[in-house]
């Protein structure tokens, strides 16, 4: 188990980097999500350190990557006075009270998540796309110490690379880091990502609704069959879903509290989304456009412009770093994505939309009860309270869905049963958050809370003023 020590070192560095950055940015995210969000943020920033090394011509080795990531972790703490006071507040005594059913739910959750984590550690990389693409690149990069490796020039592969090796590089760089650590198949980072993601979502659900309902929603999220499968199968989509969903949620929390305090953090997460799948730049562009009214209402015109510019700049930078700097400045070859592009056709759009609904969304074997639950909760909320609830999340669900359909219409290689199916991963956490924050679930949560507290011991429910 020679990989264990480097693994722990890398995890600690990711955590320290993420925490240092969040502290420097004076993040006001709920404390319950700080730890998992910091871990995810650190993972993203570490891949940027690998890119910086590669751009500087430094060979990628375990030592060089560890030194670079240690440097990044230190740099994240340069504003020590700010960081120290933030750490002080962060390390104050926890306020969460664990209930009996929490213990049961956490045990079940750990049991479910561990199976995927073990599979990510144990099995070799399996999907064809990964073997012919991102992991082929990662393996050769580790062997040769550079991303500009002989996979791109090997005559046996010339003209046969398709677009897989050129996928946005986040997952590939994670493979590079974990392979350099000594994990033979790399993908242990998937276990770390899924663990941090489910932890984040669970904490967000707990902030949104009664803990008992939050536990049920978290367990249902973990058990979404198709998403669960990709917590141990190497692809770019699950990683992309994690960062895009969390970025959208962080922005939404700011909008809700009429603040721009976490804008840079959200921008980093959305940039990580663009760093993991190419079409995300379109989602973010259209999403920011569509949500501009919400942001303006929350923080005024100047604030809204600042938020939009920050998010778009970060996302465009992440996109350009790979698709412009690497494709046009470093790599000797690049994919011919233009040939994939087709003219927009309403007929094809309708076909793609129909196939998405009937073959993908309606398949309970893929998404469990997510879709019926969303419909029932939405309809019940409107009927009971005349409100749909969390309009921010709903808006982004619609935007992400529409962009998936547009991508499916415009790109010949975007197949409904593959590309769009895995694109739906981005919708799933948003859908569960929408459910958790819906008026009808709030009514149920209040009723449950009253029932739970109304007992002979004399504890009374405190009304909020």
């Amino acid at each position: 188990m020679t990989s264990v020590v480097p693994f722990i070192l890398t995890l600690v560095l990711q955590w320290v980097t993420g925490l240092g950055l969040m502290a420097s940015l004076r993040s006001t995210l709920p404390r319950s999500v700080v730890l998992p969000v910091a871990l995810l943020l650190g993972a993203f920033v570490e891949t940027l350190a690998v890119i910086a090394l590669d751009l500087a011509g430094v060979p990628l080795t375990f030592t060089s990557v560890t030194l670079a990531t240690s440097g990044v972790a230190l740099a994240a703490h340069l504003r020590w006075n700010v960081v120290r006071s933030w750490y002080g507040a962060f390390l104050a005594a926890p306020t969460m009270r664990v209930r009996m059913y929490d213990v049961a739910a956490y045990t079940i959750g750990a049991y479910l998540v561990f199976a995927g984590m073990w599979a990510a550690y144990y099995w070799p990389v399996t999907p064809f796309d990964a073997m012919a693409g991102i992991d082929l690149m990662a393996r050769q990069s580790v062997l040769e110490g550079t991303l500009n490796n002989s996979v791109l020039t090997d005559p046996a592969l010339a003209g046969r690379l398709s677009n897989q090796p050129f996928y946005a590089p986040f997952a590939m760089l994670q493979q590079v880091i974990y392979r350099l650590m000594g994990w033979p198949f790399g993908q242990v980072w998937l276990a770390v990502t899924s663990f941090a993601f489910f932890w984040t979502m669970w904490a967000l659900f707990r902030r949104s609704t009664h803990p008992f309902i939050a536990n049920i929603l978290a367990l249902l999220l973990i058990m979404v069959p198709e998403v669960n499968g990709y917590t141990y199968l190497l692809q770019t989509d699950f990683l992309n879903a994690v960062y895009v969903a969390i970025g959208i949620i962080i922005l939404g929390l700011d909008v809700e509290r009429n603040t721009t305090e976490n804008t840079i953090l959200a921008a980093l997460f959305l940039a990580a989304g663009c760093w993991s799948r190419t079409e995300t730049i379109i989602i973010i562009g259209l999403g920011m456009l569509a949500s501009f009214v919400f942001i303006r209402r929350s923080v005024g015109m100047k604030g809204a412009l600042m938020v939009t510019a920050t998010v778009m700049t970060a996302s465009a930078a992440a996109f350009a770093l790979w698709h412009v700097v690497y494709f046009y400045g470093i790599f000797p070859v690049r994919p011919d994505s233009g040939s994939e592009l087709m003219a927009f056709s309403v007929t094809r759009f309708v076909d793609v939309l129909g196939a998405t609904v009937t073959d993908v969304l309606a398949d309970m074997g893929l998404w469990g009860w997510t879709m019926p639950l969303l419909l029932i909760v939405g309809v019940a909320s409107v009927l009971r309270t005349r409100s749909l609830g969390d309009r921010w999340t709903l808006l982004w669900i619609v935007v992400v869905f529409l962009v998936l359909e547009i991508v499916g219409t415009l790109f010949a290689s975007a197949i409904v049963g593959q590309t769009i199916r895995r694109g739906v991963f981005k919708l799933i956490p948003l859908m569960y958050l929408f459910i958790a924050r819906s008026p009808i679930v709030a009514v149920m949560g209040s009723a449950l809370q009253r029932w739970e507290l109304a007992r002979s011991s004399g504890v009374t429910v405190q009304k909020k003023g």
């Binding site: 404390r31 006071s85 009996m100 507290l453």
Partner: protein, 188 residues
């Protein structure tokens, strides 16, 4: 303006005690609900039972057995079968002078009872064993550079070198072409 992590709590400020009849009732409800979800088979209604059976239960049932198989090569074989073993065995027998001609998938699939084969793709062959002097069957421009073909049989194979006998080498290529023609020329 806040400059630190927020600690304000979500909807329920009052916290019931850990122990209590209602806490126990909710715990039991959660456990029973979960148990029903993963153990009740109702086609097209409960997708969680097959999910649990095929993924979670499967891994816990086999974890001990799998954990005893620690060799990376065995784990690759378990997962990828001939897509790993064929490139591995072929690459072990190649000499420095050999330039391998990868057969079309349609030819290789004659020996896998129709199961899909991906090792004939040069990207997968490279992924499995590293860079190898080779030419893909559909790379007609470079096909003449190859000098070694793979003659597959059930459970075995032979490397046929052009230098050892051009006729035999050509007959292997003819078998490749025939398999392609039979399959309609679809999969390379």
């Amino acid at each position: 303006m806040a400059t630190s992590p927020t600690t304000s709590k979500a909807p329920s400020d009052a916290t019931p005690p850990f122990f209590g009849v209602r806490a126990l009732a909710l715990t039991v409800a959660l456990l029973v609900g979960y148990w029903l979800l993963i153990s009740t088979r109702i086609e097209r209604v409960n997708p969680y039972e097959p999910f649990h059976e095929n993924r979670i239960s499967f891994y816990y049932d086999k974890m001990d057995t799998f954990s005893r198989i620690t060799s990376l090569s065995q784990r690759m074989t378990l997962r990828h079968s001939y897509d790993y073993t064929v490139p591995l065995l072929v690459s072990e027998r190649l000499t420095p002078q050999d330039v391998l001609l990868l057969p079309p998938a349609a030819y290789a699939e004659q020996f896998t009872r129709g199961n899909k084969v991906v090792w004939t793709d040069p990207r997968i062959f490279t992924y499995m064993v590293g860079r190898t002097p080779m030419v893909a069957w559909d790379d007609t421009a470079r096909r003449a550079m190859a000098n070694t073909a793979i003659l597959l049989e059930l459970n075995t194979f032979e490397l046929v070198r052009r230098a050892a006998g051009p006729d035999r080498y050509d007959s292997v290529l003819a078998a490749y072409a025939q398999a392609m023609a039979r399959s309609g020329g679809g999969r390379q």
